[in-house]
Amino acid sequence: MKVVYADNNATTKVAPEVVEAMLPYFTEYYGNPSSMHSFGGQVAKKIDVARQQVAELVGADPAEVVFSSCGTESDNAAIWGILRANPRKRHIVTTRVEHPAVYNLGKYLVQCGYHVTELGVDSNGMLNLDELSDAIREDTAIVSIMYANNETGVIFPIEEIGQIVKGKGSILHTDAVQAVGKIPLNLSKSTIDLLTLSGHKLHAPKGVGALFVRKGITFAPFIIGGHQEKNRRGGTENVPSIIGLGRACELARNYINEESTKMKQLRDRLEEEILKKAPDARLNGHKMQRLPNTTNLSFEFVEGEAILLLLNEKGICASSGSACTSGSLEPSHVLRAMGVPFTAVHGSVRLSLSRYNTIEDVHYIIEQLPPIIRRLREISPYGSREMKMKEQAARVVAGM
């Protein structure tokens, strides 16, 4: 069956160029980069090339790039690394819409006795920067705010945020897993102190990521072991994947402008047509301040998991903020934080594109999705306007 992959914020296809670059490092150049012999040493040189490639994509100095096993590790390393290096500071600031790697770490830190301030967002998913300014205290060790949201694609004004954080004398970490490779970044002219990126979101393999740590930032290693990564991350390097990440960053750098324009055109077409063809649908998140590849739509009176299952039957891969798809019963914390009504959260669908999507893919989704919504509404007791009125009236009575 034809597969249309529109779930690129979950993971991406590894680029064939990346696979090609990686292959020799399994069976030919399998030496340990830490070894004294030149068989291993030649691999260390290739890791330096990869480090250079990653640094160039984000405008950093190669010495500021620390390789890790994934985005979650980089997030943990950044936050723990700063907390451990500043043991007297017991407060962190983050937001209610972070990826679980930061969001749940925040919850855990509260259990450990830290103070955590979670900033809310408005109905467009945007922060109130005055609130941020008020939240930073003298003992705020770190402010961790994502660059772009994985569910809605909403981009935060990270440089403005950085100015505020700098002004208050704290440190800014940003989870840029969804931004890197999709929008241009230049860390050499930035207020960001630490930045997380992940390989598998930009056509490198799963199991590799990196953390940018600005020169001069005192940082305690998260994984303690050997002297790898200049004592900033113990453990033998995942050589093939690091080579792959380097190549993927090089590809992204070469094509980022062209690709993001193309993705944006496809995404806008997809979004417009679906909103036109499916009544009682809405866009979640700021329409402009958004990644070029992501659209998050809510369909009233239907449930997300049911939509995904029917899309799956048609070979379309998407995801949903619905409670039933999350493994728990809790619907998307991101959409809830934005005040999206429960009813719309349950029927939310995220479509996220990549450089490999085509206009044919977009046409196919436009053709398949609206009838699926119609079909589920026919089954739904809330399918008609009348039921909607009834429900609203009930809510008024209940004082909700």
Partner: protein
């Protein structure tokens, strides 16, 4: 991806009996948009009181739609009395099982059926009135409902309660209350069992019954207490009233394990089995 059985998939992709009945004899409506799932069930009866037609409409996930479809197939042709005996487990079984996290979908089926039967008897046309207090604000679940599910399905953890009735699946702020309800239900059950035992003191336990009761008491009332302090106890042998155990974990090295032996292990066994029990510690 949920691991749905072929039957669930079949009923989801090809739901039976979708729609509405004009002038139905019974209607049951449960759930709401805010809860994330809802079911409207309509029944038509023949003169002998059998269900001749049944239709449903569901708002919900794959297994909610499949559960409703399955329910309609199960009850067709049955009298209301027969249908009233259908449990959520019957619905799950008909579908060759549901993932644990989705059991609340079959519960919704049973509840809609209960509501429909009640409406036929003219009890309530609207949703059945639950006089309990709302515990889970996210999904509007009352203490009465949680108690019912805990008893019915012998639930012992908050996670299980969430799976069966969604309570606690949202913000999580009601978790302490749910835990308290679980504790209360099982405390009451224990007391009930005690009272029954006291009422029939003449009933002498057979050896097999006694051994079983000793084992159960150790598992239910003794080991969890010791485990919470990092210790444990293992039943080694039983000889008449002599119960031989061996300590494990931190209890094994604990200087006051002799006290624990008498004050916890023996005391509990005397309380729940027979007051002539003597507990001894043996090497294992």
């Amino acid at each position: 991806m949920w691991d749905y059985s072929e039957k669930v998939k079949d009923h989801f992709f090809h739901p039976r009996n979708v729609g509405e009945i004009e002038n139905p004899d019974a209607v049951g409506e449960v759930g709401s948009l805010a809860c994330g799932d809802a079911l409207k069930l309509m029944l038509k009866l023949d003169t002998s009181g059998r269900i001749v037609d049944v239709k449903f409409k569901t708002f919900g996930c794959g297994s909610a739609i499949a559960s409703a479809s399955a329910l309609t197939e199960i009850i067709k042709g049955k009298t209301l009395d027969e249908a009233g005996k259908i449990t959520d487990n019957d619905i799950a079984k008909y579908l060759d099982g549901l993932p644990e996290q989705k059991m609340h979908c079959s519960v919704m089926g049973r509840e809609a059926l209960e509501a429909a039967i009640a409406s036929y008897h003219g009890l309530k046309i609207e949703k059945p009135v639950d006089e309990g207090v709302i515990v889970c604000k996210c999904f509007g679940v009352t203490d009465n409902k949680i108690m019912h599910e805990v008893r019915e399905h012998k639930l012992t953890t908050i996670e299980q309660v969430t799976n069966y009735c969604k309570a606690g699946g949202g913000c999580g702020s009601c978790h302490p209350k749910i835990q308290a309800i679980i504790n209360e239900v099982w405390q009451k059950e224990k007391e009930k069992a005690m009272i029954e035992m006291v009422r029939s003191p003449v009933k002498k336990l057979t050896n097999i019954q006694k051994m079983k009761l000793i084992q159960e008491t150790i598992e239910r009332d003794i080991r969890p207490t010791l485990q919470s302090d990092g210790g444990d106890v293992e039943l080694i042998d039983i000889d008449g009233d002599r119960v031989m155990v061996s300590f494990r974990g931190s209890c094994a090295e604990c200087p006051s394990s002799k006290v624990t032996l008498k004050s916890t292990v023996e005391a509990k066994l005397r309380e729940f089995v027979t007051d002539t029990v003597i507990v001894e510690e043996v090497a294992s």
